[in-house]
Amino acid sequence: MNSILQVNQLTMDFGGIRAVDRMDLSIGQGEIVALIGPNGAGKTTLFNCITGFYRPTSGTILLNTQRDSNKMIVGLKINRITELGMARTFQNIRLFPYMTVLENVMIGRHCRTKAGILGAILRDSKTIKEENDTVTVSYHVLKRIGLEEYANQLACNLPYGAQRRLEIARAMATKPRMLLLDEPAAGMNPQETKDLENLLLRIRNEDNISILLIEHDMKLIMSLSERVVVMDYGKKIADGTPSEIRKNPQVIKAYLGETY
């Protein structure tokens, strides 16, 4: 299996605090990897480094893109990284609340379309075609995620679970090679979590998209992910299959403390 993402010796300092410490991570094509760890372990910081929100202090991040199998993405702009095929969702939902559900997904198509100012004003046949394609593709994405009934509603009026799914739909619209999900099941009830699991599996199986997710729901992690990476104090302390991780003494220590 060739890898899609390769993180080498990634370090991120905030002043005197080392949030991520010489982290290594490799994600294979079409692999579902869960990133777990106690609160403040540096999981989201790692996400932010990978997606370009933070510029890491040192280390490299290589992405297998369409053109270049080892594209260095450290220091690139956020939107450029998304363009290269990395899409993410946020821990606290970040939708565009006063845009319709469909428009939210259409924003995801932005980096795959080109129409400029002149095209927008003149509305030539090329722009119209592109716009039609945007709507059609976005609608199909919504349909796949099961949100098409909400298409014309404002995103802020959606129920919580649907908002979480819309974030995934929006990320899917960017046509990613890899999805980074920050706590996608947070606040979901067991049924919604089960649906989410099926959805993620379907996305992976149909499009061969790699998924890296941060999650606290152990049940979901154990059944969904093929590999689990555990972080504590910015360091990777374990990396293996879910059953291996379950038995790993270091992981148990990190989660439950020394005395157990």
């Binding site: 939708l95 565009f96 924003i107 100012i117």
Partner: protein, 416 residues
């Protein structure tokens, strides 16, 4: 009786107002004859007025708190009426025809004073729609918008003074220069948001005005530039009345172009990017939108309209000086956008006409203009924060048999 308490409260407020306004409204010291006039009648007016207003206010607040949407019934009804007209093809055509006829015939039926103030209102429509791109769509609070207006006006005035460039050549140049200044302002404020952005843009507006005021050799300082030629029409000489009609028509055309272009931009890929930027800057970037480019285009395209309006303003008044481009103008344009409804085209047009024409027609109340203006703003923000006409998102209807085919058709018909 549940009103008794309300009446008591209102009476208390009336008393408080009486006390507050006593020195200015009742006592008048005549310094020439060294006498004191006691105007007790004023006291009665203030007492009754403040009592009634506060009672009304309380009733409105109660209604609002109890959640009954009685106040919005009217607006829903108007909305339905507009929708009904929109659906009836003949009604639409009739309204359109009537509007066109009114616009065309207007200058021949009314005095040149009326034409002038309507032209002025049209200028503010263009300015409002331009600022609407920056504030309403892209969500970048710009308090120095008048700077671009000044750039447009001065570029025509100076180009004409030094090089004799005529109006029609100056119009695109003014627009371009304003866009350039828009980009110039956008660069330092790319990282700023909210309050900080507002302060910097405010500063920018003041800088431009101070440069115009103090750069005597270049801009002729506070004395301004006079004898700016009116727009020409293939060299045909026109008297004042005809010229103002001509400017009126130019403004109408510019307004239509603005409405058309801004409308198209709004429902395009770029317009959506602007709105996404307004809604959530971080998510917007994560979705692959170039923040820098999007902000720059918003500032540049917003400024373009101010530049054009500026050129026409200079040509219309034939005299400009820095006093026309104070912060108050920026505030006025911003109020038009906020009052009309952020991002809503019809709302901004309506607000521009209301805010510019009403003070003209109620000249008798000139002294209370700012008071009324402030009051309207407060009331609007309390009862209708989304503006006169709220921005409506485009809806899409999906036709097709629901099968997964790439050719599934859709119509972009707006159904609401």
């Amino acid at each position: 009786m549940k009103y008794l308490d309300e009446i008591k409260q209102s009476a208390l407020i009336a008393l408080w107002f009486l006390f507050l306004t006593f020195p200015i409204m009742v006592v008048r010291v005549n310094t020439i004859e060294h006498t004191v006039q006691w105007r007790w009648l004023n006291m009665l007016y203030i007492g009754a007025g403040s009592f009634l207003l506060s009672f009304l206010w309380r009733q409105l607040m109660i209604q609002r708190l109890s959640g009954s949407k009685k106040t919005s019934v009217v607006s829903i009804r108007i909305g339905n009426l507009i929708k009904g007209i929109g659906h009836n093809r003949w009604a639409t055509r009739f309204c359109l025809l009537f509007a066109i006829l009114t616009v065309v015939v207007f200058p021949f039926l009314f005095s040149s004073y009326q034409i002038n103030i309507v032209t002025n209102a049209l200028l503010y429509v263009v300015l409002g729609l331009g600022l609407n791109i920056v504030v309403g769509l892209a969500g970048l609070l710009n308090l120095g918008y008048v700077a671009f207006y000044a750039v447009g006006a001065y570029s025509y005035a100076l180009l004409n003074y030094h090089y004799g460039i005529n109006f029609w050549t100056a119009l695109p140049i003014g627009a371009l220069l304003a866009a350039l200044f828009g980009i110039l302002l956008a660069f330092p404020v790319l990282r700023l948001r909210g309050d900080y952005l507002a302060i910097v843009t405010l500063g920018f507006g003041e800088i431009i005005r101070l440069i115009l005021e103090n750069c005597n050799t270049f801009t002729f300082g506070p004395s301004g530039i006079a004898h700016i030629p009116r727009p020409g029409f293939f060299g045909i000489p026109m008297d004042l009345a005809k010229a103002s009609i001509y400017v009126y028509y130019i403004m109408i055309i510019l307004c239509l172009i603005t409405i058309f272009v801004v409308g198209r931009l709004r429902n395009s890929r770029i317009g959506r990017a602007w709105i996404a930027l307004r809604e959530d800057e971080i998510a917007c970037q994560a979705m692959g939108i170039d923040k820098t480019k999007t902000k720059l285009t918003a500032f540049a395209l917003g400024a373009t309209w101010a530049g054009m309006a500026g050129v026409i303003f200079a040509a219309k008044t034939t005299f400009i000086n820095p006093a026309s481009f104070t912060f108050l103008e920026s505030a006025m344009i911003l109020s038009i956008v906020v009052l009309g409804g952020m991002g809503s085209t019809i709302g901004v047009i309506l607000a521009a006409f209301l805010l510019i024409l009403l003070p003209e027609y109620f000249r008798t109340f000139t002294e209370y203009r700012m008071l009324l203006f402030g009051m309207t703003m407060v009331l609007m923000m309390l009862f209708r924060p989304e503006g006169i006409i709220a921005n409506i998102r485009q809806r899409y209807e999906f036709l097709g048999n629901g099968q997964e085919s790439a050719k599934q058709s859709y119509t972009g018909i707006r159904t609401s």
